[in-house]
Subunit: 330 residues, 2 copies
């Protein structure tokens, strides 16, 4: 009997053959003709071409994507903060003292600049207060209920409709070519896992993020995992290569980010021995999305923009290279 | 164009069909007729039967295996300690002071009981001294060189030939039925990853273990990850459910262990909502392997043996249920 692994290899082989054969189906329809599209396709064709010196076996085709600002929007606040604010609003009636107590007072007032001005200490307190104490399963249900009903304060879209259509196509294209696609987010891993399979097709075991401490607890229904009010791992900047190594155990060959928080992930990816691809989403479209880079409080893109330009990384000009930003609403 | 995911699902479906159809090929030839074999096959047939109330979708078929004592032997010392001792011997000529300095003096003398008597502090010092300081890539190469040439002190087999043939068959059987098989070891994750793909067919991203701290370092060749002399995570006892949740993001439905260090992993697995399987390897064969349980210093099986008996878990009597222990040597 053939093992699953053998059948998967056969499947991937057949799929690779069909992808490298001429096809009328455009795998990246929302990517306008441009250098980013060309560099992506050229890379994928080379690493999947068995006759190429740069051929990469399927097992090693690891692709990593930042989430906030790379797979979906991140303005005017990271979407995970909107989840946190919604939970504080929900709990506020039971906490009248919050009206005079920071950071809750500012969180409840809801002014974006004031919230950012709370600084790391205040923001961490908001996150811990709303993300810990419950079991992992309860937290997942809460996030799923929120994402199913909440809408973004300025676009009034569902958050799940603020994913970038060109990146959905890119992830599908990579998967069709034997890549294993991971999300590597500075956001909370269990927050991401609550919806990543639905909106990105990325399963929980391929979703890496920041982590709270967990403890096991014995209940009438058996052991459960409870979320602690302590940050166990920050999957950002230098933490991203560490988070990837811990979860994947391999260096990626393909990485996409959008900010200086992704710089080390990109640097580590291109420092591998074989072929590699580093991509950056440059937010240049104030009409259809947002335009920001070096001076932004969220998703600052400064050092990585310079290094990417110097080293010939693929820098996507959102305005000119993406014919569509968000999926067409049904 | 079909995505890889669709093709994999098709593959798994076809494979499932072929497995549930009558077949002359015995998937578990080294498992003698007995209750363990029956309970394994019954569980797998039920969760893969689409007409069963206990059917489990492929995505949720997560199986976890302890390593030491479950997938390979662990006596008279955990094999990872033999790697550590080999590295101390190798470095000893440059460290004449070790002849009078603990724990190196005892490590170099090589007496098993004296080494265990060093206690946690001494053993941790031996592990840190031999597992840190180098890059992850250098460490992997060192472990691979060791496992390719070292032999076990009493059986004189290669360590890779001291894996349990019945468990190799069980992992293949599960994979052929759409399970994703993980190793969940108290041993070091990068130690395991150096050979787990070769000897068990388990890729690095499905290998979970204890972790040292990692730091990124800039070199002429770009960023590398260096191993720190600090323990970051202990993937044992209550740490096992936490390690699984972090890496997989789902509760397993199938777990196998052999000691009290696996108890919480087994308890957490059977506390899920759907069907679940908990198995324990009971080392009862002093002739072909080792016989030990409640009083053993390594791999003590006491509480889990009681709880497993009470709750009807599958407890494998190695002596009577395994017709073969180790693979036939070529």
């Amino acid at each position: 009997m053939a093992t699953i692994r053998q059948l998967v290899l056969l499947t991937v082989f057949l799929s690779t053959v069909s992808c490298t054969a001429p096809s009328d189906v455009d795998p990246l329809p929302s990517w306008g003709a441009g250098s980013s599209r060309d560099s992506i396709i050229e890379f994928v064709e080379v690493v999947t071409d068995r006759s190429s010196a740069d051929y990469v076996p399927v097992d090693e085709r690891i692709a990593v994507f930042d989430n906030d600002g790379t797979l979906w929007s991140e303005q005017p606040l990271y979407f995970q903060f909107y989840y946190a604010l919604s939970q504080i609003e929900k709990a506020a009636p039971a906490h009248p003292e919050w009206l005079d107590q920071e950071p809750y007072k500012t969180a409840l007032a809801g002014n974006r600049d004031d919230i950012l001005a709370l600084g790391t200490k205040g923001l961490v307190e908001i996150i811990l207060a709303t993300h810990s104490g419950m079991t992992n399963a309860e937290f997942r249900q809460s996030v799923q209920a929120w994402i199913a009903s909440a809408e973004h304060p300025t676009t009034h879209r569902a958050y799940s409709q603020m994913v970038f259509q060109p990146m959905l196509e890119l992830m599908d294209y990579l998967r069709a070519n034997g890549f294993k696609v991971y999300i590597v987010s500075g956001g909370g891993v269990e927050f991401m896992r609550a919806f990543a399979a639905d909106i990105y097709g990325v399963p929980p075991e391929q979703t890496i993020g920041s982590e709270l401490g967990l403890e096991i607890e014995s209940t009438e229904d058996g052991l459960v995992l409870r979320r602690l009010a302590e940050i166990d791992f920050v999957n950002d900047k230098a933490g991203k290569p560490v988070g990837i190594q811990r979860a994947v155990g391999r260096r990626p060959i393909f990485a996409f980010g959008n900010s200086d928080g992704d710089l080390q992930m990109l640097q580590w990816t291109v420092a591998g021995d074989g072929p590699s691809f580093a991509g950056i989403v440059h937010h240049t479209d104030a009409d259809r999305e947002w335009a920001y880079d070096r001076e932004s409080h969220l998703g600052r893109l400064d050092k990585a923009l310079d290094e990417g330009a110097e080293r010939g990384w693929t820098i996507v000009d959102m305005r000119s290279e993406w014919s569509v930003i968000y999926p067409i609403e049904e």
